[in-house]
Amino acid sequence: MTGILDFSYMIESVPAIAKGIPISLSIALIAFIFGMGIGLAGALVKIYNIPLLKQIFGVYVSFIRGTPLLVQIFLSYYGIPLIIRQFNYLYGTDINIAFIPAIYFIYVAFALNAGAYLTETIRSAILSVEKGQVEASYSVGMTTFQSLKRIILPQALKVGLPNIGNHFIALLKDTSLAFAASVPEIIGMAKIIAGRTSQFFEVYIVAALLYWIICIVLERIMNLFEMRLRKSEKGVRNG
């Protein structure tokens, strides 16, 4: 072998590492979907100043933002089984912890993490919608919910989309931490393969390239979305 890189080994290892891609994507996607739900709820709770829930969300967001994701993964991975055990004990249920795949704990940790960050993003996107438009919607007799659904959220989404998209990409990159709970995502697979041959450098370069390609594709998709949204609501509608 000459040079510092074994190219043919790198190419050979691509399919095996790529097996982690669906898992990485699934973590990002599921965390994102639930995170959006949590984030929307959190944003509304803050904006409409709902007592008690507002304080709960405040502590939650502060905690997530103030602790490393890796620690949150560990808390979820070791903590949820304890909670389930306690639940079994209290309510006489029989949920078998051993049968719950580790990836579920990862979903929980990532969804809670994404939810906290998205709370702030969605909140500022909603607040960016002119107050006057909200008042106008009330003045024609719309309810708070109708106003939110028809006037506020569609505009907030447009404003927030670039930031929300960036969150998703960041989330995807963060899924590399899931290996800590032995989940076979991209890095998890890379570690397994590299462990067999000890060619760590090559394997991690392949992993890095895979992340890079996925992120470029995602960015493209985001840009398309944004352009679509921006093209509408300018000047005249066609047709």
Binding site: E130, G132, Q133, E135, Y138, V140, G141, G235, V236, R237
Partner: protein, 250 residues
């Protein structure tokens, strides 16, 4: 049509409306004038409950609202029977002019879309914008936006129209087109309350002028006598200031 009794409004400890009593007959056009900060907007906003009154009662049509017991149903009922036009138009930026008008017809009145669009186009025609249904607010001039906003306010067939300085944000050359639309509405017999700094316009279209200062109605009179023989010194000072300003312009 409208009867307001001892209406008071506090913002925290700031006493903004200090006991407004006002009765307006069906079909009447009332102009409210007064210095900045006197509570004109707040009065109008209390009438359709964009602000919560702190004290007093407001009766609009068949609905009576008592400051301390406003339930959600009568709140919506009042808003659905009053049309509000704002200084800054406040059109829904994500909707075309037509959709701005049909929005409440579809979501609030549950009218079917095709029917709503018919009403929408008819209203666009009355404000002279029949060809602009597909335009988004960003593609319209200020005067056009305000006319769409007026059409939107008319869509629910309100019994009462409220205008809060509808021409103050407009370039001078766009003021007349909007005033003309308002004139048509007022002359058409719809009960109208307009807060305005266009004193000449107020004198032209209003049956009655109300002068507010520091949260109180200081003086009210029919439009002719109000300007010819204002009774209260503050009213006189206010009118003088305005006529002087317009003299400068001439």
């Amino acid at each position: 049509m409208v009867k307001i009794t001892n209406l008071q409004k506090y913002f925290k400890r700031h006493h903004v409306l200090k006991g407004i009593n006002l009765a307006i007959k069906e079909g009447e056009t009332v102009a409210i004038i007064g210095p900045s900060g006197s509570g004109k907007s707040t009065l109008l906003r209390c009438m359709n409950l964009l602000e919560r009154p702190s004290e007093g009662t407001i009766q609009i049509g068949d609905t009576t609202l008592e400051a301390h017991h406003i339930d959600k149903m009568s709140l919506l009922q009042v808003r659905r029977s009053t049309g509000m036009v704002f200084q800054n138009y406040n059109l829904f930026a994500n909707k075309t002019s037509l959709e701005n008008i049909t929005e409440a017809l579809i979501t609030v009145k549950k009218i079917e879309k095709g029917e709503a669009e018919k009403i929408g186009y008819a209203l666009l025609n009355t404000v002279g914008l029949g060809d602009k249904g597909n335009h988004y607010p960003s593609g319209l001039s200020g005067g056009q936006q305000q006319r769409v906003a007026i059409a939107r306010a008319l869509a629910l067939n309100p019994k009462l129209m409220l205008f809060d300085e509808p021409t103050s944000a407009l370039d001078p050359e766009l003021v007349q087109e909007v005033l003309q639309v308002i004139r048509n509405i007022a002359n058409g017999g719809l009960t109208t309350i307009i807060v305005t700094h266009e004193l000449e316009f107020a004198r032209d279209i209003a049956d009655r002028i109300i002068f507010m200062d520091e949260g109180l109605i200081i003086e009210e009179n029919n439009a002719k006598d109000f300007f010819v023989s204002p009774q209260h010194p503050r009213t006189r000072k206010f009118i003088e200031k305005f006529t002087q300003q317009s003299l400068y312009y001439i």
